[in-house]
């Protein structure tokens, strides 16, 4: 393992393009001057970081791959797949006109696609983590779907932290050219007790009239912290459906920024998360309406048990130019134990005067009336509560964009709740 050091983003033997080197140098400079965010900043409110990025080293080579996951088996045949281990892309392949390539070779081979995009979605000076990402990133994946191409089977990106004590900065660039369509499943994971830090970035462009179904499953082990950035720009009449499942990590920070840039573009953002024990799940979502006639819906449901903490802060920003926007955000939380807590902060920032926009957020324990009803039908209390938790999540899971990915998520949430019941925490 090696200390943090900014190294060329290319495979040995290839010269790093100037534009990549320049962005990397710029980020390294910002990394040196920025300090770690604190909970005094609004963007990090509620969350105290108890580690430094320098506490972790960088892997010299990819570690031992994790074993097969339910989440992958359930997808069946895929149209393309990539595996990223400890920040190194070990596998990338796709059928037909679709490109799935390691970023380290794509910056040379697909420079035309990447040059105008890589690192432009999330500014490297946003915070110390994003600066670190662009200063130290070693590899990642480019997914490119050409114009008017509909990809039938899902595309899979499996991002793993395999080696304890390491930090990795995988970078994923996804480009759907106009009038194309694809379903992408992104799995973030690590073994149950791997003490690691992952700072993955996903930058996505959904072209005019293109449709992206994006499923993000976070199943980090309990030793792993993750600070993930996700950015999606949607073109004219383009559509995004995103489903995120938060099923792990010691600390999972997940920031999403969707830009509805083109007129008539739309997005549906779904989320299901379950916080166990002392986990911290921190969601910061921004839905930015820039084009006219754009519509969006955010719908997140979460549960926390034991001493877990979840945070959802949602922002709908409607530009002056974005007349006739229709936008909504909903966040519902189940508090399953007395020591658990959830924060929910929906925000609206509306600069246009012809819009429909709303938000709602709730939190509370399991419903006594529903429990009473189920028990009156002959179910014992534990069973009745399990059913209620299942029903709570079903409303959002059933709408996840990749049907074949839903079952393992459902099972994982069930298992977590059953474990909490068995150990007397709920």
């Amino acid at each position: 393992m090696a200390p943090l050091e900014s190294k060329p983003l290319t495979r040995a033997g290839d010269a790093e393009p100037d534009w990549v080197a320049a962005r990397r140098a710029d980020a390294a400079e910002r990394y040196a001057t920025l300090s770690m965010p604190t909970s005094r900043e609004e963007l990090w409110r509620y969350v105290d970081l108890d580690f430094a990025i320098e506490d972790f080293a960088v892997a010299d080579a990819p570690g031992t791959p994790l074993t097969a996951a339910d989440h992958i088996a359930s997808l069946g045949e895929v149209a393309g797949r990539a595996t990223v281990i400890d920040g190194f892309t070990t596998e990338a392949e796709a059928a037909g006109p679709v490109t799935v390539a390691p970023l380290a070779t794509a910056v040379v081979d697909h420079a035309a696609v990447l040059r105008s995009r890589l690192g432009t979605g999330t500014p490297s000076d946003l915070d110390k983590f994003t600066a670190a990402h662009y200063a130290f990133l070693r590899d990642g994946v480019l997914v490119h779907v050409p114009e008017r191409t509909e990809v039938g089977a899902p595309l899979l990106i499996d991002v793993q932290s395999a080696t304890g004590g390491t930090v990795s900065f995988p970078h994923l660039t996804v480009v759907l050219e106009p009038s194309s369509a694809a379903s992408l499943v992104l799995l973030y994971r690590s073994a149950p007790d791997t003490p690691a830090l992952a700072v993955p970035h996903l930058e996505t462009w959904v072209g005019d009239n293109a449709r992206l179904r994006l499923t993000v499953i976070q199943e980090w082990g309990y030793g792993t912290s993750a600070v993930a950035e996700t950015r999606v720009a949607v073109g004219r009449d383009g559509n995004l459906v995103l489903g995120e499942a938060g099923l792990g990590a010691r600390l999972s920070r997940f920031r999403l920024a969707v830009d509805l840039e083109g007129a008539g573009s739309s997005a549906e953002v779904l989320g299901a998360y379950f916080g166990e024990q002392q986990q911290v799940l921190d969601y910061r979502y921004t839905m930015h309406h820039a084009g006219t006639n754009t519509s969006s819906n955010m719908f997140l449901k979460g549960a926390v048990e034991d001493e877990a903490l979840s945070v959802f802060t949602g922002m709908i920003r409607i530009d002056e130019t974005a007349q006739r926007t229709d936008a909504f955000q909903t966040n519902r939380n189940l508090i399953l134990s007395n020591g658990a807590s959830a924060q929910s902060v929906p925000n609206l920032e509306i600069l246009a005067n012809d819009v429909r926009c709303g938000h709602g957020s709730t939190m509370g324990p399991l419903d006594d009336d529903q429990r009473y009803y189920l028990m009156s039908r002959g179910l014992d209390r534990e069973r009745a509560d399990r059913l209620q938790v299942r029903g709570f999540f079903e409303q959002v899971l059933a709408r996840f964009p990749e049907p074949s990915a839903i079952d393992p998520v459902r099972r994982s949430i069930n298992r977590k709740y059953v474990a909490a019941q068995r150990e007397g925490r709920v």
Binding site: L374, R377, R383, R386, L387, R390, R411, R415, V418
Partner: protein, 107 residues
């Protein structure tokens, strides 16, 4: 009785079911320790797949409405289901799961 090989014992994960279809038979297999159980996969209440249910000791809970079935007898232990699911004779021979397609339904 004729027995068919279904899978190796090691292919059957602990704690969750596996659904197999053989002809008209839709079967849910479960592994609890070294024991394997095979029951009809359709819940007798609303036909949900029991292979997707959660296992508690020797009982599986239907994922849809919470009916519970005993893996050994197929009998329902909790409403809303009232009728048993069939049980298939199953044994492990040299690490292979062998199943007889002769379901028995408890009365």
């Amino acid at each position: 009785m004729d027995r068919v090989r279904i899978a190796a014992l090691t292919d059957l994960p602990e704690g969750r079911g596996m659904r197999v279809e053989i002809g008209e038979h839709r079967i849910a297999l479960f592994r609890v320790g070294d024991d394997v159980y095979a029951i009809g996969d359709r819940c007798t209440h609303a036909e949900a797949s029991l292979a997707e249910g959660e296992v508690f000791d020797t009982e599986v809970e239907c994922p849809r409405h919470g009916s519970a079935f005993d893996l050994r007898t197929g009998k329902p232990g909790a409403l809303p289901a009232t009728r048993p699911v069939p049980v298939y004779p199953v044994e492990v021979v040299d690490g292979e799961i062998m199943l007889a397609l002769a379901p028995e339904v408890a009365t």
